[in-house]
């Protein structure tokens, strides 16, 4: 099965072949013999050319994988070739823009922006209090605030859009 990894604007081909109870994985011109066992869902034990790797993999949304090796987490964007074509035709990601949603139930403590305001990546938009800590939700890219749905003092559910933003300069 052929895949493509999208990284830094480049396409890296990956191929997974089943072979003799394991896999051959072709990546970057190298073929790796891999024995893979899923110990518990999301936890893989990989033997790659004899080296032992414990990896947890989580897919928060299609084509995105959060891969934890012992030294940290890496985000891998991996698609099948058909998905790549569809994306290039503007099919898949229906622009959510840069909307900021509350990650969990909490209370809005402070609203830092107003509609029409221009913000940059990293700017604070809303402060939400949850689990006894105050968390500042930040813009994930440059944009303009379209609508502010958070109200100071209000309790919010998890997964609710708090600030709607539109990207500028084709970003997002």
């Amino acid at each position: 099965m052929r895949y493509v990894i999208l990284r830094d604007g480049e396409q890296v081909p990956v191929e997974v072949l089943e072979r003799e109870g394991g896999y051959l994985v072709k990546l970057g011109g190298v073929t790796h013999a891999v024995d893979s066992r899923e110990v518990v869902p999301g936890l893989l034990s990989l033997l790659v050319n004899g080296k032992s790797w414990e990896v947890t993999v989580y897919s928060p949304e299609p084509h995105f994988y959060h891969v934890h090796l012992w030294d940290g987490m890496r985000r891998v964007e991996l698609l099948s070739p058909i998905d790549v074509v569809m994306r290039n035709q503007g099919g898949t990601t229906a622009g959510r823009g840069l909307h900021v949603r509350s990650p969990m139930p909490g209370k809005v403590v402070r609203v830092l922006v107003a509609p029409g305001q221009r913000v940059s990546r990293g700017d604070g938009l809303v402060v939400v209090e949850a689990m006894k800590m105050q968390n500042e939700l930040q813009a994930q890219g440059d944009g303009i605030v379209r609508e502010v749905r958070a109200r100071e003092g209000e309790n919010v559910e998890g997964g609710v859009d708090l600030v709607l933003m539109d990207p500028v300069d084709g970003d997002g």
Partner: protein
């Protein structure tokens, strides 16, 4: 004393139950509706529900807790840390109900609870305090005047509480007014009291605290210090004992001051005096914590004394068994606090279900935790997952074991700060013992804390995960004759 109620939850409730078990005493647990299957409930001898999930309706619900004590016939209450542990009113109500509160007298809690009063008492007792005000500030004008007196930079702090809330570091006069306003409003939000006081800000301070034990017969001893300078936003995340910068003489000097401080408020039971130490090794009283602390385990590892058991014995009226001259500090212990939070996303808490967890074990490793497979890290309480503590013959050995233990730690289903902790304890500055409270901001700044670069194994893992996920979703096409069969899907404890 035969039966003790633990007015707490999570890892500290488990810790106290273990101490009670060691002493062949009976443990009564209380739980909120969110904690019905929690480990402390299952390990206790008796367990009673005290209310819905929110703390204010359960673990802070004094009426409910005292009622359970009565119904169960508990003779004493151990408050743990947080929740009601430093609530003088609760300590009083226990006494009124004929229950032993395993902690200090209400008067001592009250005396140390208001920070400016604590400073006044200490100054009067001859304990060195950080230069600054001994009363809350009336307003920003007074703050400005006092700041001129002690000299910038200054630290504005909430009088009614700690933990970094209501604190502002002010470098120049022109920042003071806004900082005063912010500190005060944050203090109101966190403690219901906007009073703020002022201290001279010590640059590159170390945060070193001294453990003390006091019995009800007038004996007070110090148990050695803990180094707690590794903090993020004033929350401790890595602690150790002994402190790499404290030698026997400084320990004795700080210890004697700590004992003096405890006597000044008629302290009984376990307590901790927090000091700020400047670059010249001058130490100043910062505050006193009138409870058992999260990081007590490192002191236990280097002294061989079980502090939770000592607390229970003291509360039962026993005299301290250890004499000061018998105290010996052996080896080095380090603690890392694993929290369910995402350092890659501004340390946002990550509550959720733990699909699988592997806690480290082996020589020199101790883990205090209450998590379990299929358990929840609740959004109602603090996101502590586990305290991993290692002991070594010296600090280097303790650090190596900590690196090994953190690498062994494995969790599926929630994010934790494990990798961040690994970066801390592997950092050359940490290994050399160059610690001060600026450590975390420095390494976060210098290393551009981000995901590491690409790794072929990460790509391989993603590809295989995608491949196997897709195959699982195709009921017929997936069972290819040449492919791995379902037999190979080994599910184990990991």
């Amino acid at each position: 004393m035969k039966k003790v109620l633990i007015a707490n939850r999570g890892e500290i409730a488990v810790r106290i139950i273990r101490a009670l078990r060691d002493m062949e005493m009976s443990a009564v647990a209380v739980y909120s509706e969110a904690d019905r299957t929690a480990r402390h409930v299952r390990l206790a001898d008796e367990a009673y529900c005290i209310g819905p999930p929110p703390s204010s309706q359960s673990y802070l619900n004094m009426d409910a807790i005292l009622d359970v004590a009565k119904r169960s016939g508990a003779e004493a209450i151990h408050p743990g840390y947080g929740f009601l542990s430093e609530n003088a009113e609760f300590a009083s109500r226990c006494a009124e109900a004929g229950l032993v509160f395993i902690g200090p007298p209400p008067a001592a809690i009250r005396a140390m609870g208001e920070k400016t009063q604590a400073r006044r008492i200490m100054a009067k007792a001859g304990v060195p305090v950080v230069p600054g005000t001994l009363e809350p500030l009336r307003d920003a004008e007074e703050a400005a005047a006092e700041a001129e007196k002690v000299g910038y930079p200054v630290m504005l702090k909430a009088a009614a509480g700690g933990g970094g809330k209501g604190m502002r570091l002010v470098h120049e006069a022109k920042e003071l007014r806004a900082a005063f306003r912010d500190a005060s409003s944050e203090a109101v939000q966190s403690f219901g009291d906007g009073s703020v006081y002022l201290e001279k800000a010590i640059l590159k301070p170390r945060h070193i605290e001294m453990q003390i034990l006091a019995d009800a017969h007038g004996n007070v001893i110090y148990m050695g210090e803990r180094e707690c300078s590794i903090q993020r936003r004033h929350q401790k995340i890595v602690e150790e004992a002994p402190s790499p910068m404290v030698g026997p003489q400084m320990r004795a000097a700080m210890g004697e001051i700590a004992v003096k401080a405890a006597r000044a408020v008629g302290y009984v039971n376990a307590g901790t005096i927090e000091f700020l130490v400047d670059e010249r090794s001058q130490f100043y009283f910062m505050e006193m914590n009138t409870r058992l602390q999260v990081e007590h385990a490192v002191t236990e590892m280097v002294t061989g004394i079980d502090l939770a058991r000592a607390q229970i014995r003291i509360a039962a009226g026993e005299k301290l068994r250890l004499r000061q001259e018998e105290l010996s500090i052996r080896g080095s212990a380090i603690e890392c606090r694993i929290y369910a939070e995402d350092p890659e996303n501004h340390f946002l808490p990550c509550p959720g279900k733990i699909e699988a967890v592997r806690l480290p074990e082996g020589p020199g490793v101790r883990v205090d935790s209450s998590v379990f497979t299929q358990g929840e890290v609740s959004l109602y309480y603090d996101p502590m997952v586990a305290k991993v503590v290692t002991w070594g013959r010296d600090r280097v050995m303790a650090a190596r074991s900590m690196i090994r233990a953190l690498q062994e730690f494995q969790i599926v289903g929630i994010r934790t700060n494990r990798n961040f902790l690994l970066q801390i304890v592997s950092h050359p500055e940490f290994l050399e013992g160059h610690l001060d409270t600026g450590f975390i901001p420095r390494i976060l700044g210098e290393r551009e804390f981000r995901s590491p670069g690409p790794h072929p194994v990460a790509d391989i893992a993603a590809a295989i995960f995608a491949y196997e996920s897709a195959r699982r979703q195709q009921p017929c096409a997936g069972a290819a004759a040449t492919g791995p069969s379902a037999w190979r899907r080994a599910v184990g404890r990991g």
